[in-house]
Symmetry: C2
């Protein structure tokens, strides 16, 4: 994987560049749709490429490990072959899901024992095991195994947790470096910066990972309940330390406004379930604010779903019609809202990029943040 | 609406023709995807036209009357405007749903009082009311309001029920003829032949409707639990009487084999929820038989979903992948199976048409029936 930093904004830390993987080139800043078990919920692969214009998607190691499982993934020749999505992919390390989804778990220095949220079966993830699993899944970019510290953790817990994550990172790197990719293309390992909401821990964490000379870095453990301003501050603290010539990936964030604020602070890559999950709950994002499609006010609104929208569904369907589909609990409603929101997110980061290139990012971003915050 | 009978098979009653409506031309035999509340479950309108190659879709009067309701449909300018589907549409009369879905109902000579299955609210359908409702929905082809006799009805009940349906038909025709379409294009009323599984009642019913000189005729009350052979016999009895120069629509039928058998017996139009409903339950139809995608045998089958399939999903996705999506309860599984099955049904009736044109229908049909009956 190679990152080329093309331009940094004169008035902010916003940057644009290209990430080159063996499965293709990604233009940053970029948003990565979440393909939990190898499918982006409710969206055909064709539409994801042609309509949403996704350049890279994310898979969840925890979910893929449980279903379809490693035997099937390996036999298929990796996730790209299994799901037929031939663009770059990234997998998380399973850390977040083990700590948020799985049943009773025991954390030790060695790793985490947990029970599947599906059938209660017992499993063990260690840094080495998670590297091996991600070799089998075969994403282009893979993540170090970390403890995802709860947002409410006190300083002592957060510090202890960070030390564990740092120890695990070394073990991840060691295992990664002593193994080969399985399917003939390169994989890249990103360390993750943890440290909860404690400035000195975040600094320590950023300095620690920066020393590893990785190809890119992730910022984890944010947007887990802390105030938005604290999240932005942590991004600033971390990005002041992370090497400028490497891509920075803010994990699991966030609203369109969060994304613009993070881009302004020098983040290059994003993923979040929000566009699809909120879409399935009838919330759609537009450049003039958010719309709750369950609201009765759309009953008789026969105007296009989003006249300026980036997806073909935006002009094919009306607000009244999609509102009706949500009321009638039709699957098509979930599909339309998901594809709309993903196309909107990809449009948003694409516009951010264009404005960075053109030198007007901050002016555009300030205007957008105002609009995006509205409820229509 | 005009029907042009183009050819009748030399060795059977199979026919092909064209139905011309103000929203376009339909080539028969044809299958009509069911768009219950104005959407074909899980399928984008674009894909329905471009991929499934649907030529006409069906809407359910009962469902549309309840949701979105007449006020919204009228304000939109009818169902075509409301859902943006600009091809021909057909609505049933609500008879079937009132008798199968709705809550406590009272049948009288006047009509049927029933309660909504959604909120228990009380409603009344009479033949006149149902004509008015279908004027507001605005489908190109609309159906007479009938009592859909239970498949288990004894002769006396079936006879009484048929007389009621015949009385209601006259009232439907009278109301239809004394009202105008609301949106500037023509609508056509099809009477429905009832009579349960009693040959003399079916004959009587067919003779009665044939006298009305309608533009087309529907055969209702079949595939409601009676043996398949009885259904085929009833189709034969009715089609021997219905005028040859008018299209015949077999309501709510059925499996791919049912459809070929009915085509052989002179039926021109079909609708059924089977391709979408069974698809959502992981059953897909192929030209070599049916596949249950939940079956563990597909775990490691990385061959295309249906190498000879008519839809783009057939070669984009593998059996193992779609099997995995069903196991993981992903929406995308329902979408893929729905679009595959609909494309298959449309392919099937298209092939039937081509073989009628070419003069080899019966040979082809016999071979297909053998293949279609297999479980893969």
């Amino acid at each position: 994987m190679k990152f080329l930093l093309e331009k940094t904004d004169a008035a902010s830390l916003a940057r644009c560049g290209t990430v080159t993987t063996d499965h293709g080139v990604i233009q940053t800043p970029i948003f990565m749709p979440v393909g939990t078990v190898g499918s982006v919920k409710g969206v055909y692969h064709r539409d994801l490429v042609e309509d949403v214009r996704a350049q890279i998607i994310l898979g969840n190691t925890y979910h893929l490990y449980l279903r379809p499982g490693l035997e099937i993934l390996k036999s298929a020749g990796g996730l790209h072959q299994f799901n037929g999505f031939n663009l770059p992919m990234l997998t998380d390390s399973g850390g977040f899901q083990v700590f948020s989804l799985a049943g009773i778990r025991k954390i030790s220095a060695e790793g985490v024992e947990f029970r599947s949220h599906i059938d209660g079966s017992k499993h063990f993830f260690s840094p080495e095991r998670v590297m091996d699993i991600q070799r089998i899944i075969g994403a282009d970019i893979i993540m170090a195994f970390d403890e995802c510290t709860p947002g409410t953790a006190d300083y002592q817990y957060a510090k202890k947790s960070l030390l564990l994550t740092e120890d695990w990172l070394d073990r991840c790197i060691s295992r990664f470096n002593s193994t080969e990719p399985l399917y003939g293309y390169q994989q890249t390992l990103f360390p993750i910066v943890q440290g909860c909401t404690y400035k000195d821990l975040r600094q320590h964490a950023a300095e620690n990972v920066a020393e590893k000379n990785a190809d890119g870095y992730a910022i984890g453990g944010l947007a887990v309940g802390e105030p938005t301003d604290v999240m932005y501050e942590m991004i600033e603290v971390v990005n002041a330390i992370l090497p400028k010539e490497k891509p920075r990936y803010l994990m699991g964030v966030g609203t369109p406004i969060n994304i613009l604020e993070a881009i302004e602070r020098g983040v290059d890559m994003f993923d979040c379930v929000m566009p699809t999950r909120n879409g399935r709950n009838a919330q759609i994002f537009t450049k003039h604010g958010t719309i709750n499609l369950r609201n009765q006010k759309w009953d008789f609104d026969f105007s296009p779903l989003d006249p300026e929208g980036a997806s073909y569904v935006d002009t094919m369907y009306t607000k009244a019609y999609v509102h009706h589909l949500f009321k009638a609990q039709e699957i098509l409603a979930l599909q339309i809202a998901s594809i709309h929101n993903l196309a909107f997110y990809l449009w948003l980061v694409g516009e951010a990029r264009q404005h960075i290139v053109a030198g007007y990012f901050c002016v555009w971003k300030a205007r957008m943040v105002e609009e995006l915050g509205r409820r229509l």
